[in-house]
Amino acid sequence: MTTTDRTHRNLRIASIALLIVGWELAARALDSMFVPSFVETAAAFCRIVSTRPFWHAIGISHQAFVIGFGCALIAGTLLGLAMGRWRAVEAICDPYVNVLLATPISAVIPVIILAVGLNLPARALVVFLFAIAVIVVNTRAGLKTIEPALIDMARGFGATELQMWRTILIPGALPAMMAGCYLGLGRALTGMIAVELLLVAVGIGRMILDCQGMFAADMLYATVVFVAGEAVLLLSAVRWLEHRITPWNDQVAIE
């Protein structure tokens, strides 16, 4: 770790510490039962993570998340690759991708619930729709930004279509595909909570609504902190994976 790296890390830690201290002081000054202090939230956090219903709720929510995001990742990547490589596929799919990208998916949730029902497939579909568009557009952009000269070079050495995919197109698109995965993951988590808060009251969304209804502010905050913490952890994991599988991206040039 270089000195600047260390400085940046210290700044990050200082920033988080400042937030916690500020929160604690503000909550004490307000002295409201609806705004718990950091210490109260932390205590509630420790309490809820040791209960079975909490983990049960987490499990229910994540069924939809894993199915929806997994399908979005597979379908989005395949569709993005096909759209980036073949003009005809792009012409056919582009309108739908644009609609998905532009429409606030929350507005579509009632439509899905009406059509599919208040069940797991419906929730998974919402997660899927939240995540897929950014995965498609990033994967496509990854293919389109590959230098044409690289493709010429491989053709010049007699690459077959399969070799072209394996040696040029997939590795070339990989950084953008990882970016799409990163953004899609964030959106999938949003979709997972949104559907539970808005229509299908199960899982974590149900817990949040229950805490709100019982004015259990400390539990509410603890649940929200858990969700935020999970998102940060998952996104960091994707970042870490990105550095692992695309090491050429962060190699520092030595000139």
Partner: protein
């Protein structure tokens, strides 16, 4: 032997621009083991001509053949060195050099052994595990050249390969290429916009006209092999360069709207 017969090539209309005829009625014969430079005003289609010999694009009319066999696509007898180096950013120097062999299905240890010979020959020792962006432009083009040579092609096609490296590095690369040409006896087609470079390297300089490009003249450089150390002292080279300058300037004035009375 490369034969280019009555070749036309046009680029289709795009984004409101009319179709352009890049090359028209090009005739050119390049002997085996010959080192030919192709020069001409910018946009004259010299790169297109090279890409057609490589088989990356096909002529609209006419024919290109190598030792009598028509060119219908890229082939193992030819390798291209590109101006933008075209190295795989995600592969190390060694894997980049071995790339052409990888596409031909050679096992990894075999192709890395060949790459290792090239690394040695190109003075890239110690950089095997580096990624391209960690190298200077000159080093990157050494990798590009090594990758082309690794497949042991009979014909080396070079598209302004030294245009984007600094002047000092360019001179070293030119000297190395000249040495290589004399040692390995390959047919080399070298596209450049640099007259000094064309004369310095080639046995013969082919001059193309402005678009649509045609072969205007084919001028033997007339210097002994191996090349004399200091080309600036050779009357033959000085005269040829001066002549090419005059020709090119004439072409540019004829096509530039400003010079019209």
């Amino acid at each position: 032997m490369i034969t280019v017969r009555h070749v036309d090539k046009a680029f289709p209309a795009r984004n409101g621009n009319a179709a352009t005829l890049a090359l028209h009625g090009v005739n050119l014969t390049i002997d085996t083991d010959e080192f030919v430079s192709v020069v001409g005003p910018s946009g004259c289609g010299k790169t297109t001509l090279l890409r057609m010999i490589a088989g990356l694009v096909l002529p609209d009319a006419g024919a290109i053949a190598i030792d009598g066999r028509p060119v219908t696509g890229p082939g193992p007898d030819r390798a291209v060195v590109f101006q933008q180096f075209s190295l795989l950013p995600w592969a190390t120097v060694a894997d980049n050099i071995a790339f052409g062999l990888e596409l031909r299905g050679m096992p990894r240890d075999e192709r890395l052994a060949i790459a290792d010979d090239q690394i040695h020959a190109m003075g890239l020792r110690g950089f095997e595990r580096h990624y391209p962006r960690q190298l200077s432009g000159g080093m990157q083009q050494r990798v590009g050249l090594a990758r082309a040579l690794a497949v042991n092609p009979a014909i080396l096609l070079m598209d302004e390969p030294f245009a984007s490296v600094d002047a000092q590095t360019r001179r070293t690369l030119q000297e190395d290429l000249r040495t290589l040409a004399e040692r390995t006896r390959k047919t080399i087609v070298f596209v450049t916009h640099d007259i000094d470079e064309a004369v310095r390297l080639a046995d013969r300089v082919v001059l193309l006209s402005p678009r649509p490009g045609q072969v205007v003249e084919s001028l033997p450089v007339g210097l002994s092999r191996p090349r004399p150390e200091d080309l600036d002292q050779e009357p033959a080279a000085i005269q040829l360069k001066a002549y090419l300058w005059r020709q090119l300037r004439g072409m540019q004035q004829a096509t530039s709207p400003k010079s019209r009375p």
